[in-house]
């Protein structure tokens, strides 16, 4: 592990001021420190932002503002989150383990890196880690990688559960940085790999996430469901965050986001569009799922994610409709 300096930021502005090339912000460290041990991340200095006064969850009218340093555990346990945004509480609790969630912050969770095995192994090529070195996953171990929005350069997935719920909820990510303050609506924070898979998000160097703001919850019931081969402590094969608002059997509003299928938490807009205004029937759900998954470009070992995602969409909507 490379030697590095460590500093604790006193305020968000102080954190940004301390940022220079080679600096990385440190949240709970549950992902970054692992990657440093593996030699994947090699920062010269860490600016610890986990102790900033960004650890509050505050109600603002019908909106909820969550500080970036709030721990995953605290987010999932917060009464307002559990009552008003149960999909988010469930998504957070579906991730990692109790110990990891106690450490992990909201900012760090959003910016955790892919679990692609080649990315984590510095002795093998990987376009995301070493641009231009190639993507061995396409021919190799891609069983849990992307079926949607991938490119010839990278087929990685974003592993966060929480981000899937945030994408469905249309959360806004508040950022401060050398270029000033910005608000980025989800799912716009993350980007598709294209031919620059080294960039996971639209953030610029030095950008610090300060908060995530949730708009009023979508009307109607919601669900977060995660599929994995072991019953806990595993990343999603595919996950879904969905909400459905029906009036007299007609879909008024609908949110569907998928995890484990793309380089971003995948908002299934095609499926949503296909449903809104129409009858909430099993056939409509299937047609919507298929419309979305027409975009899928599966690889040999992750082709199962197509029927899995389709089944999940249909089944989740059926459950929401009943």
């Amino acid at each position: 592990m490379k030697q590095f300096e460590y500093a604790r930021a006193a305020s968000p502005a102080d954190a940004v001021r301390r940022f220079e090339p080679g600096t990385m912000y440190l949240g709970g460290g549950t992902n970054l420190v692992d990657l440093m041990r593996l030699g994947v991340a090699q920062p010269d200095r860490l600016v610890d932002v986990s102790h900033l006064p960004l650890d509050a969850i505050e109600q603002d009218g019908d909106r909820l503002r969550i500080g970036a340093a709030v721990r995953n555990t605290d987010l999932a346990a917060h009464p307002l989150v559990r009552v008003r945004y149960p999909m988010l509480a469930r998504a957070v609790l579906a991730g990692a383990s109790g110990q990891v969630r106690n450490m992990a912050t909201i900012g760090g969770n959003l910016l955790q890196r892919t679990r692609c095995g080649y990315y984590q192994d510095v002795t093998r090529p990987c376009n995301k880690r070493r641009p231009g070195s190639g993507c061995p996953a396409i021919e190799g171990d891609h069983g849990n990688l992307a079926i949607l929005g991938a490119s010839d350069s990278c087929v990685a997935t974003h592993p966060s559960d929480m981000a899937v719920a945030l994408a469905a909820l249309g959360a806004e990510v508040h950022v401060t940085g050398p270029g000033g303050d910005r608000v980025i609506p989800m799912p716009g924070l993350h980007r598709l790999p294209g031919d620059t898979p080294e960039r996971d998000t639209v953030l610029e160097p030095g950008d610090l996430i300060t908060a995530v703001e949730l708009p009023a919850p979508p009307p109607g019931p919601s669900i977060y469901r995660k599929v994995r081969e072991r019953a806990s402590f595993a990343f999603a094969l595919v996950s879904i965050a969905a909400a459905l608002d029906l009036r007299d059997g007609v879909v008024r509003d609908c949110r569907i986001a998928l995890g484990g299928v793309a380089h971003v938490p995948w908002r299934a807009e095609r499926a949503e569009q296909a449903l809104i205004g129409g009858q909430a029937t099993g056939e409509a759900f299937l047609a919507a799922a298929e419309a979305e998954l027409e975009l899928a470009r599966p690889l040999p070992r992750n082709a199962f994610k197509v029927p899995l995602a389709r089944n999940l969409i249909v089944r989740t909507l059926e459950e929401l409709a009943s």
């Binding site: 592990m1 490379k2 030699g39 679990r115 095995g117 080649y118 192994d121 002795t123 093998r124 061995p136 021919e139 190799g140 171990d141 069983g143 599929v227 994995r228 081969e229 072991r230 019953a231 806990s232 402590f233 595993a234 990343f235 094969l237 070992r301 992750n302 082709a303 199962f304 029927p307 899995l308 089944n311 999940l312 089944r315």
Partner: protein, 676 residues
């Protein structure tokens, strides 16, 4: 009985190999090959040697001296050939772990790479018939005419199963701490399953007399076979300590463990079975294809269960091996029986379905009088009792055999059964008992790798001496103690217990000291087939929407001689069954065909069962009286729990979902793809 060392373990006072406080200790960090095959052209260590704290760089550039007897994976740096990706090709010794690691990263190894081959297949031109399979069994055996048996059968099946590369994941990483004293004696604290055998291997590797080497392993945090034979880190620590003239410590990382501490070979197994109209076997053929490295031959005895399990007029078991550019496979819990019984017991289920018979009845019907492979009588065999007791507890009588018909919402429900078996052997060991301040000191170089060996030996000694267990102190885990067999092959308790029992008997002659060496006694053991048996019953839920498989109930019924301690036995059985569940549903190391070596080398990627995966796990046993085993009347129980579990679960998945997955692990992908 509770673990004697339980308190020191949970309070952190138990000392593991890497934790012994040794003055002036230094650290070694391995450099691993980044090609899968080739020749080392040059090792440039100049930059590394100039790094802070660096004391030495070891490599094939200046091969440190080892005895000509140094073998296989232990012959570190003796050759410039690279046999697999991840092989140790150099090592840095430095004053701190961090400095050693940093310097290891700048050791430049230049390779002349060659094309590699890491793919096991039944078509591989390099397949051959090894002379024997582990630990010395004949490679191919048989009697009768299999083709004729199949031709005459009313029902036949011909099926192929595959199992992936699997890794042991003991909690304690492999670690060694070594130093040489002024008299040239070598001391090694090692994460080892056997102090005596470890000492012998290390002495042979360095060309030292045995009494010049001492191996200490008082506490070992799991091994499952991966610490059964000395691993390279122990040789490296000793070699490096000699080089720098100071103690050297090595603790492998989890990634390194995947590369250099062995794994279970992947297998491809073809089973051909035939049965007559009543369900009696007419033929059984089991052929296993597996891999080893170019470094040494390791031939897993996968097809041996067919020689033990069922009566048949025609039997053929065979093993074929291919040497690939991979690390050498090694011991993993129930080597041979575990993968072999997965295939055989899955095939028995398929045969039961094909013949329209109940799978419990099919097994009962074919229970043999004598051991099918050898014709020897069994010392005891109670597979039928286990099957019947399990069936009773599982309400098997009311089971509808029809697959794919029981449903609870999204979940398809099914049940399955499979048999378990594991040899009950023992090996010569020595022990000494002495009176000491009104207490009793028992000494034997046994190993407690988390199994409870120290505790059960205390119990055996206390019962034999007729005193309370808290008056007995058992000292183990040190090669300076009386020689003992290693913790392997489920032979530990039987081997050590025999010696402790005899030493205690001897002690009672004068009440001062007792000695035992069981070599002669064991040499006189009658020629019998000695095995433990069991039956495992699984209830699974297969999600029709997601393909997820959950095991809602797992029951193991075992007949394993006299069970000496219920608490300790239960943890061995359910531990094995849990590991078998992992094998069935999630465990898989990925072989990187493009670059060689393995992927998924950590516990976030190589999934083993979490608590949530084993909500209802039960192990029970039938007491057996068997005078032909050892003075305790016991059979080994460390491994049988993992044997058959994957088949029981796989059979239950078939019963639930209506289609058979013959390729482990049974992941959602393999459930979903054929359904859509």
């Amino acid at each position: 009985m509770n673990r004697i060392e339980g308190r020191v373990k949970v309070t952190g006072l138990a000392t593991y190999a890497a934790e012994y406080p040794v003055e002036g200790v230094t650290y070694a960090y391995p450099v691993q090959s980044q090609v899968a095959k080739g020749r080392i052209a040059r090792v440039d260590d100049r930059e590394a040697l100039a790094m802070p704290g660096v004391l030495a760089v070891l490599s094939s550039e200046r091969p440190p001296e080892l005895a000509p007897e140094a073998e296989g994976e232990l012959a570190l740096f003796q050759s410039r050939e690279v046999a697999y990706r991840g092989q140790i090709v150099a090592a840095v010794v430095a004053d701190t772990y961090e400095n050693a690691r940093a310097a290891a990263a700048v050791v430049r190894v230049e390779y002349q790479p060659q094309a590699h081959d890491v793919h096991l297949s039944t078509e591989h031109p390099g397949l051959y018939r090894p002379k024997t399979v582990n630990p010395g069994f004949p490679t191919d055996t048989g009697h009768g005419d299999v083709e004729a048996g199949l031709a005459a059968a009313a029902t036949t099946i011909d099926v192929t199963y595959t199992t992936p590369v699997l890794h042991n994941n003991p909690m304690e990483p492999h670690a060694s701490l070594a130093y040489w004293d002024d008299l040239g004696r070598l001391m090694v604290y090692d994460a080892s399953q056997g102090a005596t055998s470890g000492r012998d291997i290390i002495a042979r590797t360095f060309g030292l007399p045995r009494d010049a080497v001492r191996v200490v392993a008082r506490h070992v945090g799991g091994g499952f076979g991966s610490k059964g034979t000395t691993r390279p880190q122990a040789v490296l620590a000793a070699m490096a300590a000699r080089e720098v003239g100071r103690p050297v410590k090595i603790a492998l990382t989890r990634h390194q463990m995947y590369d250099v501490t062995g794994y279970r070979t992947p297998t491809i197994q073809r089973l051909r079975l035939g049965a007559d109209a009543d369900g009696r076997l007419t033929a059984l053929e089991h052929v296993a294809y597996e891999q080893s490295s170019t470094v040494e031959e390791f031939a897993e005895q996968t097809a041996v269960p067919g020689r033990v399990m069922y009566g048949t007029p025609a039997l053929r078991t065979a093993h074929r091996l291919v040497r690939l550019d991979v690390a050498t496979p090694s011991w993993m819990r129930a080597p041979g029986e575990c993968p072999g019984m997965y295939a055989l017991e899955s095939a028995m289920d398929e045969l039961a379905y094909a013949a329209g018979l109940d799978p419990v009845e099919l097994r009962v019907l074919n229970d043999p009088e004598t051991e099918p492979g050898s014709g020897r009588p069994f010392s005891s065999r109670n597979l039928v009792g286990c099957l019947r007791e399990g069936a009773r507890r599982f309400d098997w009588e009311r089971r509808d055999p029809q697959p794919g018909v029981r449903r609870d919402g999204e979940w398809l429900i099914g049940t399955g059964v499979a048999a378990s078996t594991y040899p009950a052997r023992r090996m010569p060991s020595k022990a000494v008992v002495a009176a000491q301040d009104g207490e009793f000191l028992v000494q034997i170089a046994a190993a407690d790798i988390g199994t409870g060996a120290r505790t059960v030996l205390t119990k055996i000694a206390a019962e034999t001496l007729g005193v309370a267990p808290d008056q007995v102190h058992v000292e183990i885990g040190d090669s300076d103690l009386p020689d003992a067999f290693l913790a392997g092959g489920s032979m530990g308790t039987a081997s050590w217990g025999s010696a402790v029992f005899r030493a205690c008997e001897d002690f009672q002659r004068d009440g001062k000291e007792g000695h035992a060496d069981t070599a002669e006694e064991i040499a006189k053991d009658a020629e019998l087939a000695r095995h433990a048996f069991g039956a495992q019953f699984a209830e699974v839920r297969v999600n029709a929407v997601t393909g997820e498989v959950r095991v809602s109930r797992l029951l193991g019924v075992f007949a394993a001689g006299h069970i000496m301690d219920a608490t300790l036995a239960r943890s061995q059985f359910i531990g094995g069954m849990t590991m078998g569940l992992g094998m069935a549903l999630m465990e898989e190391t990925y072989t990187d065909e493009e670059f060689g070596g393995f992927l998924r080398r950590d516990l976030a990627q190589y999934h083993i069962p979490a608590n949530a995966d084993v909500p209802n796990l039960e192990a029970v046993w039938l007491e057996e009286e068997d005078e032909e085993l050892n003075p305790m009347g016991s059979k080994g129980i460390g491994e049988i729990g993992i044997v058959g579990t994957a088949a029981a679960i796989g059979n239950a998945v078939f019963h639930a979902a209506g289609h058979r997955v013959r390729d482990l692990p049974i992941t959602p992908a393999k459930i979903l793809m054929p359904r859509f």
